[in-house]
Subunit: 718 residues, 2 copies
C-alpha cells in the first residue's frame, strides 16, 4: 500500500503519509513507544513522575462534569478558561488511556468530542469583537488552533476505540468544519484564510493544527495544504515558515519571549511529520533550522529565564512549550546531551510522548551534561542581514553574568523602539533591565489580560529602554511602519578572550542624527568583577537634547553629586513619548567631569560612572505617572541629560560590579566604587579614546580606531 | 586536683572549672572530639564540607599580610571590616590547626595575637564618637566582645603550641586588659561596667566573651564575674540573663530578628560551660530555657526567613548564629531530630565543633526529621505576663501560610509602635507585610550603616504597620518610655481545629480610646483557601479619625470603587507621624456598604473586603516621600479612613486568598474575589456579629459574645 501511494504522488514531489499513520496513536505518541512505556513503568523516574501528573490530571478531569459553556469571555474569563481546561482534559485523558488502558479515560475523550460536535455547528463568531481574526469558541482564531492541536492528539489516542461510524460523525461534524474554518474562515470573513496563508506565528499554529488533524484522519490533501498553503504552491504553509520565520542563526524576529511561543507548534508538528512523513527530513531541513532555533532560544536566557526584550513577560525553561521543544529536539538529535540537563534541572518533567520517554531514559542513565551558555551573535532576518541580538557572557570563568545588546530589525507588532539597547544580568539578578511588556496576562481586571494602553504609551517607547533618546522623542516617532523599513548595522563584534565587544550604527531612528554604540565587557585584572564599558555617540549637524537612561532593579545607594529629592510633591518628567509615565524622584546638576551612581541589587553593588559636562542634568525617576489604572510596575531609572550643539556627543560610561554584601555572616567588602574618573581624551570621526581611572592609580585605556572599515580597538591597563 | 578545687570553692556555692579545661581546646571544640574528627575525616559529608570551608578560609588568611589598621571607621568601613576579618581569620586558623596539624595556621594565630598585643595597649577610645558605650578597636564595645569571643577560641586552639612565657605575655598585655576593659571600662568612662552588669543582649555578649577567655586562661574568679556579675551576687551576669531575657515560652522581647542575634552568645557560652562547668546543668536551667528559645526562634519564621517585626532586617535559618544555635541545641538534646533538617535543608553547613560534628554524623545516618511548624502563642515578659506574639499556621493541611499577631510589650529600643499589628504570609511570599527596619546594614553611604532617621520617622511609627491609627498619630505619641510602661492584654486565643483565633485589648496606646482586635483564620469549606477575618474596634467618648492600613507586597489589581489616581503631580499624605513618608498614589470614596481591594503576589490573588460607610475614604499610598536620602524602600499600602463620632467603630474585614495564576501553562482560575459583601449586623459592648457574603449565595457568619470574661465565638456557614 505504501509503495502504491508513493508512486501516485511522486511526480508531484509529494509523499503521502507513512504507513505508521494508519496505526494510532501516531502523532507525538507512537504505538511502538507505548508498548515500551508500559513495559518499563516504574523504572524511569522522570517519566513516571510526568505520567503520574498526566494520570492525576485525567482523574481530576473525570471528577468534573462535562461543561461546554457558550463562548462569552476573553482570556482569563470563564468560558475561555473552561474551554482551555477542556482541551487539556481531553489531551490528558487520551494519553492516560493509552498508557493505563483505563476505559473511563477514553470514554471521557469521546464524550467530550461528541459534545463539541454538538456545540460547534451552532456557533457563529465569538461575541467579543476584539480580534481582527476572530474565532468561534475563543475570541481569536489562534486559540482555536491550539484547541485543535490538543484535540487532534486526544482523538488520535482514542481513534482505535471508536467505530468507523463514530469517527465519520466526529470528522464530518466537528474536525473537518473546524479545520475548514481555520483554513478558510467563512464566506463573510476570510481573515482566517489570510492568516492560514500568511508567514507568521499565527499561521504556523494554524498550519500545525490543521496538519495534525489531517494526519490523524489520514487526509493527504489537507496535509498538503498545511505544508504548502491553500494552493499547495509552497510559497506559504508550514515548510515555507521554516524558510522565513527564523534567521540562519535560528533567531525569531519577535524575540525570545515569542520565540518560546512560536517554537511550540513548530516542534510539535515537526515531531508528527518525523513520525508520519520521514521523507521530509524535517529536522535536517535548512541546515537543521529547528534544532538551531531551540538552541538559540536556550541561549537567550539568564538563569533559566528568557531575557526581557520586546513584548516579553516572565517565561523560562520551565514553560510548557520548552518541555516540548527540548524533548523533541533531543529525540531528533540524541547526541545533544546538554538538553537533558535542561529537562532535569529546570523542567523536572517530560512530555508523555516518544520524545519525553527518550529524555527521561537518558537522564536515568546519567547521560545529562551541563548546558553551556556562550557568548553569541544572533543575526536577525531571513537571510541574517538585518542586524543582530548579541549576548556576551562573563569573560571571567565561573562568573554568572551576561551583557546583551539589541540591534535587530523591529520585530513586527511585538517590537519596541529600542535600537542599540543594552541590558546586564549578574549574580542571578537583572541589573540593567528592559521593562518588557506592560501586560497582566489573563487578568481580566487589567484590560481583559491584553496588552494595556501603557504598553504603547510607555513600554514600547524609547525612554523605557537603555539607549539614546533624542529630543525626548522615541525612535521613528514610535511608528512601527517606519521602523520596519530599516535595521541597525552591526559594525564590529568580537566574542572571545578577556575583552568582548560589539558595535553598531543606526542612521534611521532619528532623522539627521547618526547613532553609534560600542559596548565592551572586559576582565580587568585589578577589578573585582569584569567591567562593562559603554560608548554611545550621537552626531548631528543640528542642536539636540540627548537623554541617556539606565533602568535598573535594586535600591539607590549613592549619587556622586548633590541632588534634590522630591519631598512633599512629585511631578512627572514630561507629557509624551513615555516621559509622562516617569515620576521625577530627584534631580541634580551633573559634575563637570565624572558623575557616578550606585545601586544595590541582591548582595552586590553596581556603579555607573559617566563623563559629564557642566550643564548636564541628572534625573532619578520611577515609573507610575499618567497611569490611571495602575498598569505599570513601579521601577526606578537613572537618566543623564545633555543639551548638545551641532557636532558629536559621546556618552562614555563604565558599569562596575563590586562589593560583597554577605548578610549571613554580616561581612561586607568593597562597597565603594573603584572608578574615580572617566575622561574622553579624543572623540573624532576616526578615533575615540577614553581613560577610565580607578583607585590606587590604576586605569583602563580604551581606544577605538575608526579610520578604516575594519574597526580596531585596544584596551590597555595602567 | 579536681577534687581539691571543688573542696575549696564548694562553700561559696561555686564550682571551679572542670578538669577538661586544663586540656586545650576546651571551648566549642574539645580535645576528645578532635581525635574523632581526625579519625573519620572524609566520611561525614556535611562536616567535611564545613571543614573544607574553614580550611579554605584559613588558607586565604595565610595569603594575606597581617594587617591591623588604626581604628578609624564605623560598620562597613575599612578598619572595622578589617578587624572583623582578622578575628574570623584567627578563628578559622585556630580550628584548621587543630584538625590538620599544619603548623602555619597556629603560627598565624600566634603572630596575629602578638600583633594585637602590641596594638591594643596603644589604643584609646575609638575616634568615631557614635556609641554611648564606645569601644577601642571598634566604634562600640559590642564589637569588642565579639572580637574577644572569637579570639578566645583561636587562643584556645593554639594554647598548647605556646610556651608559658608566651601565654603570660598575651594574657597580661592583651587578654586581661581587654577583658578588664569590657568588664569595667576606664576610670574616665564606666559605660562598659554598666553594660557588663546590665540585663540585656549587649551584656550577654560581654559576659560570654569574658567568660570564655576566663575559661581558656583557667581564671575562676573572672569566670564567676561573667556568670554572676561584678560583685558575684548573681543579680546580674550570664545566669541572671537566662532568668530575665527570655519569657517562659523562650521569647526574647526585642523580637525574632534580635533573638537570632541574642541567641548566639547564649548558646556559644552555654556550650563552653557545658564542657567546662557541667555542674551548672546549663541546658536544663530554668526548665531548659535555652533550648526553648532556639525552638521558639525556629517557629518565628516563614520559609526559613524570620518574620519581620520591630527593627527586623532579612535574616533566616541560614544566618551564622543559627548554625551555632541549631548545632549546639542538638548536642544538648540529641532526641530533637527536627534540628537536623534545619541544618541539612537550610544551612548546609555545621560548626566545626563537637556540636556540628554530632549534627553532621546524625544527618549522614539519616536521622533528620522534617521541622514541624505549629500555631503557637509566645508570651512576652520574664514571667510571661506581658502580652504575646501569636502565630497561626494554615488551618488546612499542606497549605504553607501563616497569620501573625503582635500584642507584646514594647521590645526595648528596637520596638515599634505597632500594638495589635497583624501580618500574613502565603505561598512562599510576604503578603501583608511589616516594614521592619529602615536600615542598610554595613553600607557606609547609607548613614554609615546605622538605623537611618527614617527608622524613627517612618518604620517605627504606627502608620507603617497594619493596625489602627487614631487621629493620624502614633501610639504613645511614639514615645518609647511611655510605651514601655504597659502592654496589651491577650483576651482570647484558640489555636486548634478549623477555626483559629486570637483576641487582644489595648487601653493605653491612645488616651481615651480603647482598642480591641479579633483575628480569625478559618478553613471555610466552600473557599479555595482558608479565610482571614479581622475585627478591629475602637471605642471612645470623643470623636476621632481612624485609619486602617494594610501594607502589602505585590501589584494592585483592582479597587471595587472608582478612584482617582495621581497622574501629573503626586502629594504626600501628611506631615508627621510617618504620614509624611507616604505618597498618595490614588484616592477614592469608599462604598456605602463594602469596599474591596485586590492585589497580585506571586501566583495568587489577595482581596481584602471591608464593611465601609458613606464618607469613608480610601488611600492607595507608596513609601518614599520626605526621604531626602533614598533611605526608604518603595512599597505600597492600602488605607481606609473613617471619621467617627463618639462611640464604637468596627472595621470588619476579610482577607481572601484566591486564584491560580500558572504562567508555565498560561492557565488561570478564580482570579475574581468571592466575597460580595461584609455586613456588621451587631456591634455592642457585649456582642459582635458580622455576615461575610460570598458568590453563589454562600456566607460566613461570625459571632463574638463578649458578655462574660470568657470570650465566646462562633463561626458558621450558609
Amino acid at each position: 500500500m505504501k509503495k502504491l501511494v508513493v508512486i501516485i504522488f511522486a511526480s508531484a514531489l509529494s509523499f503521502s503519509l507513512a504507513a505508521s499513520s494508519h496505526r494510532h496513536p501516531c502523532l507525538l505518541l507512537s504505538k511502538d513507544a507505548v508498548v515500551q512505556m508500559k513495559a518499563v513503568r516504574g523504572s524511569v523516574p522522570l517519566f513516571d513522575a510526568s505520567l503520574a501528573e498526566v494520570i492525576d490530571n485525567a482523574e481530576r478531569a473525570l471528577e468534573r462534569e462535562i461543561n461546554l459553556p457558550r463562548p462569552e469571555h476573553g482570556g482569563g474569563g470563564y468560558s475561555h478558561e473552561t474551554h482551555k481546561l477542556n482541551y487539556f482534559d481531553m489531551y490528558n485523558c487520551g494519553i492516560a488511556w493509552q498508557i493505563t488502558g483505563k476505559r473511563a479515560y477514553a470514554d471521557r475523550v469521546k464524550a467530550m468530542l461528541t459534545a463539541y460536535a454538538e456545540l460547534y455547528p451552532t456557533l457563529g463568531y465569538h461575541p467579543l469583537n476584539l480580534s481582527p481574526v476572530p474565532g468561534r469558541i475563543f475570541w481569536q482564531t489562534l486559540n482555536e488552533s491550539v484547541w485543535l492541536l490538543h484535540a487532534a492528539q486526544a482523538y488520535d489516542c482514542i481513534y482505535d476505540t471508536l467505530s468507523s461510524r463514530e469517527r465519520r460523525h466526529l470528522e464530518s461534524v466537528l474536525f473537518r468544519p473546524y479545520a475548514e474554518f481555520i483554513m478558510n474562515g467563512t464566506a463573510d470573513n476570510r481573515a482566517n484564510q489570510r492568516t492560514f496563508n500568511n508567514l507568521n506565528n499565527h499561521a504556523t499554529w494554524a498550519n500545525a493544527a490543521v496538519g495534525m488533524i489531517a494526519i490523524v484522519m489520514g487526509d493527504d490533501a489537507m496535509l498538503r495544504k498545511a505544508l504548502y498553503g491553500k494552493d499547495e504552491s509552497g510559497e506559504v504553509g508550514f515548510m515555507r515558515q521554516l524558510d522565513v520565520l527564523f534567521s540562519p542563526d535560528g533567531y525569531f524576529t519577535e524575540g525570545a519571549y515569542y520565540q518560546r511561543y512560536a517554537i511550540w507548534p513548530f516542534m510539535i508538528f515537526a515531531q508528527c511529520l518525523q513520525h508520519n512523513r520521514p521523507d521530509l527530513g524535517i529536522f535536517t531541513y535548512r541546515d537543521g533550522i529547528l534544532l538551531k532555533a531551540v538552541d538559540t532560544l536556550l541561549q537567550m536566557a539568564y538563569d533559566g529565564q528568557f531575557m526581557h526584550f520586546n513584548d516579553a513577560l516572565e517565561k523560562g525553561y520551565d514553560a510548557q512549550e520548552l518541555v516540548s521543544a527540548v524533548d523533541i529536539a533531543y529525540l531528533a538529535d540524541p547526541s545533544n546531551k546538554e538538553l537533558l540537563s535542561v529537562a532535569a534541572d529546570y523542567q523536572q518533567k517530560v512530555l508523555v510522548s516518544d520524545a519525553g520517554f527518550a529524555v527521561a531514559k537518558a537522564i536515568a542513565e546519567g547521560q545529562a551534561r551541563p548546558l553551556k551558555l556562550r557568548s553569541c551573535i544572533l543575526h536577525d532576518g531571513a537571510d541574517g542581514s538585518e542586524g543582530a541580538f548579541v549576548i556576551m557572557r562573563s569573560p571571567r570563568e565561573g562568573e554568572n553574568s551576561a551583557l546583551t545588546f539589541k540591534a535587530t530589525s523591529h520585530g513586527l507588532s511585538h517590537g519596541h523602539f529600542d535600537r542599540l539597547n543594552f541590558a546586564y544580568y549578574d549574580a542571578g539578578n537583572e541589573i540593567v533591565t528592559d521593562y518588557g511588556a506592560a501586560r497582566f496576562l489573563n487578568i481580566v481586571a487589567k484590560y481583559n489580560g491584553h496588552y494595556t494602553h501603557e504598553n504603547n504609551s510607555y513600554a514600547k517607547q524609547t525612554i523605557a529602554h537603555n539607549t539614546l533618546v533624542v529630543d525626548a522623542k522615541s525612535q521613528f516617532q514610535a511608528k512601527m511602519k517606519d521602523a520596519s523599513d530599516s535595521h541597525p548595522e552591526i559594525t564590529a563584534c568580537s566574542l572571545g578572550g578577556d575583552v568582548q565587544m560589539v558595535a553598531s550604527r543606526e542612521e534611521n531612528a532619528y532623522p539627521g542624527v547618526s547613532m553609534e554604540r560600542w559596548l565592551f565587557f572586559a576582565d580587568v585584572p585589578f577589578l573585582q568583577f569584569p567591567l562593562v564599558m559603554d560608548l554611545l555617540r550621537a552626531t548631528s549637524s543640528e542642536s539636540h537634547c540627548y537623554d541617556y537612561p539606565v533602568h535598573y532593579l535594586g535600591h539607590m545607594i549613592e549619587l556622586s553629586v548633590p541632588y534634590s529629592k522630591a519631598l512633599e510633591t512629585m511631578h512627572r518628567m514630561g507629557d509624551a513619548s513615555g516621559y509622562q509615565h516617569l515620576w521625577v524622584e530627584a534631580e541634580a546638576d551633573a559634575a563637570d567631569g565624572t558623575t557616578a551612581y550606585t545601586w544595590l541589587t541582591g548582595y552586590r553593588m553596581y556603579s555607573i560612572s559617566t563623563a559629564t559636562a557642566a550643564g548636564d542634568k541628572v534625573f532619578i525617576a520611577r515609573t507610575g505617572a499618567s497611569d490611571p489604572d495602575f498598569n505599570l510596575r513601579s521601577e526606578p531609572a537613572y537618566i543623564l541629560r545633555h543639551q548638545a550643539g551641532p557636532g558629536s556627543t559621546l556618552f562614555a560610561s563604565c558599569l562596575e560590579t563590586h562589593g560583597k554584601y554577605d548578610i549571613k555572616v554580616e561581612q561586607s567588602a568593597n562597597l565603594d566604587r573603584s572608578c574615580t574618573a572617566v575622561e574622553v581624551t579624543e572623540n573624532s570621526p576616526s578615533h575615540i579614546s577614553v581613560r577610565y581611572s580607578f583607585k590606587d592609580g590604576r586605569a583602563v585605556l580604551l581606544d577605538v580606531d575608526l579610520s578604516s572599515d575594519q574597526i580596531k580597538y585596544n584596551v590597555s591597563y595602567e
